[in-house]
Subunit: 344 residues, 4 copies
């Protein structure tokens, strides 16, 4: 059994890691830390784990050595502690934004201040298996992924990997997101009477996750616009781009089907009948699947590529566990078998 | 024009008062106070009032004399200031719980500490026009009503006023409520990812609003049980009681129709066809109506009496304005004409 | 009093017309027709009107002459009957898509078959007062507006009227919409367990409302992409365009403020603090306001212009009544005073 | 591997069976029938199963012999076919209401017509393992359970099994339920604009599930009142009863803890802190747990006992699979390990 611990386990991504790892057949959870919940049963915070584990939150100052360490801290904390964490575990998966960008200057531009451990940036692999599967198999340090970046990158993956769009052309990605994206800490806008029923555009351009799309897709002109809707889990990315001249319907089908064939958690959803014809995040709650769809206007070459994920799974903890599986030489789907619910 | 001010106008009941009074044909709003929002436009807090008023929140320490003063403060504050407020306005409507109960001992029992101005309790009329219309016409001091108490009292009104149930028998009232009941201040349980989708029973018995039902209905054994559901506005009270022997269907119809005939904001909803056969709070959002329905088992005499209201309207600010109208000799429906929306 | 009737009044736009007109101070409702609900009280279908009107649905085959006739029929019906309707009323407002497009060829292209009364297309004024106020004052025949077209047109209005974008450049408009857009008739996808919680992109390009944007804005390359979210009322349009070189922040403010100054139901929402900083449809339920906001990237000239409306009000019945007011020489805001609710 | 088939697999309980059984380690699904979806991939109807199974819906007229047959038909169908089904499989689990009641007269009273195969009623075991575990281990024929009956029976189980309430006294159970209870077929009231945001009491007394509570709990006077709320999955039962004289807090704790100790899917939720202090259905979506809580008024002996379940799991398909496990001599939790999600 692989011994794993989770630093910062009282938030939503930490809870989701606990849910997955607690039932993971190859893993034993050693510690789950939380300063604010120290000594409490984790099921008091994550009530779905009642009767599933008697683990209590432990002190982050008091860590045992383990095989794999997951870091679920707020942004800009892990970079201060990365040396110490590396002494505790030879393999680290950091879910924060601290080690996602390879270039310290790019980091500084998007996060507003210099990185405090810039020499570590090159040691990390960006933690999206659909983009870096082979590198992840030998990696010791893996970053998490931004949830919006993941929905965007996967929407673009078939187009970019198959060279179907011009990398210099403008791409607009509209993201519709649930409230769990905002994390466990409340604010006046997350108070239920204010947050319920919203269609609230909270970022028009310049969101940090844009940097992950630029880096990973190699594009030049990408805008991410994000709108909150009345849902807890889920992201839908709708990417608007223009196909290169001559690209045809069959090229698109080949590209999308190829992506689904190459990646166990990608699926193409493009049906002519029934209720579920396009990717939808609601049926992905708790699942690690990313559903892809597309449509295009043959007159203009305008393509709309769509990706739906659960932001806490494929957009965070699910991908993190998938990366761990690859690092450990396990089947990458291990422990990630929940298919989602219908209806929901 | 009647000059009115609102103390504590940044909360939800204050906002609803501002919405109603800003369009009330007989009223001019002089001041709306808020310590935390001092100097800001009220439309920044209550965004529905943008382009409707340029009023800013003013300082509660700096009040002008007015004809009517509405108090929208948290519980246990108005009683400390009631003498000063009485010097500013000859008529006061207090929406808090401070002056709803007539007996200081009863107040102390339910609110956990002695009332600081017990001599004022007898000066206030309980502010539900359906129970105290005549007294309200000559009142200077009017209490607000608890929203759950109002749904409960109106569900029971036809039964009690027509002497159809035994006042000593057990009555169980199950209330399903929206999130605006909890007020404008957030807490961990009101954070959207936690509060969305709930069916959460937050009070099994002993809620303070019970005291208002006991007092106003003259019953001996009443339990209010309250469950939050995923809705912002609305309360549904489902009251379970036992009819006196011999009470028949026609007696019930007479009682409920009589209540609706006597009170402009009461309606009976008991249809045999269509989607809307029973009282439902959602179509009452923004409306001052209380919809009543009933059903009973002739074998056992078990009666289920149902009342739906908007907790911020009939359950708070709507009834408060209705009381003001009565105090001022106006038609009691003035300014309360919005019928609600369908669909919603 | 102006005598008005509504043909096809059992649907959602018909219900909203009934709500508005029933409280309109200058109007008397003569008939509201429905074949399927013939003889029933309208409050059985539109339960918010209980105790507000005793009107019953009447037979569309049995119409009285009136001053203004509102047509709330499904698309492709009114064009077959327009001559007869014109014999009944000298003024007609048709809420369907039948008379929105001026060019019969354009109509045929978007609606898939030839118009049966093409000579009538030129007699109608497109019913958005913000675009055709002066023409509406002398109009006899007014079309309705597509709800998505209206949110799109109003999002673009300040940019187009002030010549801030290139009319030949590509404009992408992402619309997020509530379920009432789909009308009163159910289908497997509107069944609550399937429709709840969705983020479901139902039109990527080619939606009929696009034709109204092309016609009214004079643009060449517009894509409307539409996504259903878990809300009943509301549309948010997020329009992506590119500013002409040299356009500055102050030009934008001038354009948006100008639009709000010129039009009683337009508001600019662009706050630096508070919960409500951007346009949001939820606070517009039942209101005729259209809230506008914008943001732009000075580096690229990418502008995001946002418009929120209630699809049944500004996007349908509210604009229709506003047009009627203009046709009748009334203040255009008459009967449209409800400001919306907060919280909701 | 045990060979199983599902008759009537296109509905919600059928879909949930497919989800569970498709990942069940001891089971192979042979056929899933649907007349209306014949020949279609089951993932087109149950989109969560895309990439999980290539099974298509087969013809109910063309059944293979299997070890276990699940019947997911509408009420009043299985009783007509039970002989034929018994020829196909030696073990049957019928999820409909056809074989839940033991007494043909009781069946006729609640279902309004005589049972067509009354001799079969005594061959079936009521399929709630918490009540009939030992009998289920040797059963060949097992009924399903009503979802509302299950929430009610489990809320009462600790009180009845420990003899803490008088079986002749009045018990009122208020149930709040999600929309998936109504099944896959739409109706005007399930159309999203009408069904969203509801608090709609659809049964005041006399619901068929009452018969299952009377039969299984041995009580004399039970009322079930049911109210729909805006949720897809979930039931909360709030049972009001009166404790026998002398029953104390410790007796209650002993009873509830005992129930949780004896039954792997029962949990007691009664916390003094945190957000999740009481049973809530939302965290149970997809899980087979039933969460129990209680509160009582020592002055009056009034007890409120609460049970939360997922109506499609513990209230239907989850219990059905649990019964199958018992019938097959497997660990009863096999294949039922999903713990639910938080947040959701």
């Amino acid at each position: 059994m692989t011994r794993v611990s989770i630093i910062g386990a009282s938030g939503y991504t930490g809870g989701e890691l606990l849910r997955i790892l607690n039932d993971h057949p190859e893993v034993e959870i050693i510690q789950a830390t939380s300063r604010s919940k120290l000594g409490e049963y984790i099921y008091q915070t994550h009530p779905n784990l009642r009767k599933r584990t008697q683990l209590k939150f432990s002190d982050p100052a008091d860590l045992e050595s383990v095989d794999v360490l997951f870091l679920g801290l707020p942004h800009k904390q892990a970079q201060h502690m990365i040396e110490e964490y590396a002494n505790i575990a030879s393999r680290i998966v950091d879910l924060s934004g601290d080690f996602r960008l390879r270039d310290p200057k790019v980091y500084e531009r998007w996060y507003g201040e210099p990185h405090v451990a810039p020499e570590w940036l090159s040691k990390f692999i960006y933690g999206l298996p659909e983009l870096h599967r082979e590198d992840l198999k030998t990696a010791n340090y893996v970053s998490g992924v931004g949830c919006n970046a993941t929905a965007s990158n996967l929407a673009l993956l078939p187009l970019v990997q198959n060279n179907l769009i011009d990398p210099a052309a403008r791409v607009i990605i509209e993201l519709k997101v649930g409230s769990s994206e905002g994390g466990v800490a409340g604010n006046p806008g997350s108070h239920h009477p204010e947050r319920a029923n919203v269609i609230r555009t909270f970022s028009t351009y310049g969101h940090r996750h844009t940097a992950e799309v630029l880096q990973e897709m190699g594009l030049k002109d990408v805008t991410l616009t994000m709108t909150s809707v009345d849902l807890v889990r889920g992201v839908l990315a709708t990417a608007h781009a223009v196909l290169k001249p001559g690209v045809q319907n069959k090229d698109l089908w080949k590209a999308y089907r190829g992506a689904a064939n190459d990646n166990p958690f990608l699926r193409v959803v493009k049906e002519q009948r029934g209720v579920y014809r396009v990717p939808e995040p609601k049926i992905l709650s708790g699942s690690n699947y990313a559903d892809l769809g597309f449509d295009f206007d043959p007159e203009t070459g305008h393509i709309v590529s769509i990706c739906a994920i659960d932001n806490l799974m494929k957009g965070a903890s699910g991908s993190a566990v998938q990366c761990m599986n690859l690092m450990l030489g396990l089947d990458e789907t291990t422990g990630l078998g929940f298919p989602g619910l219908h209806p929901i």
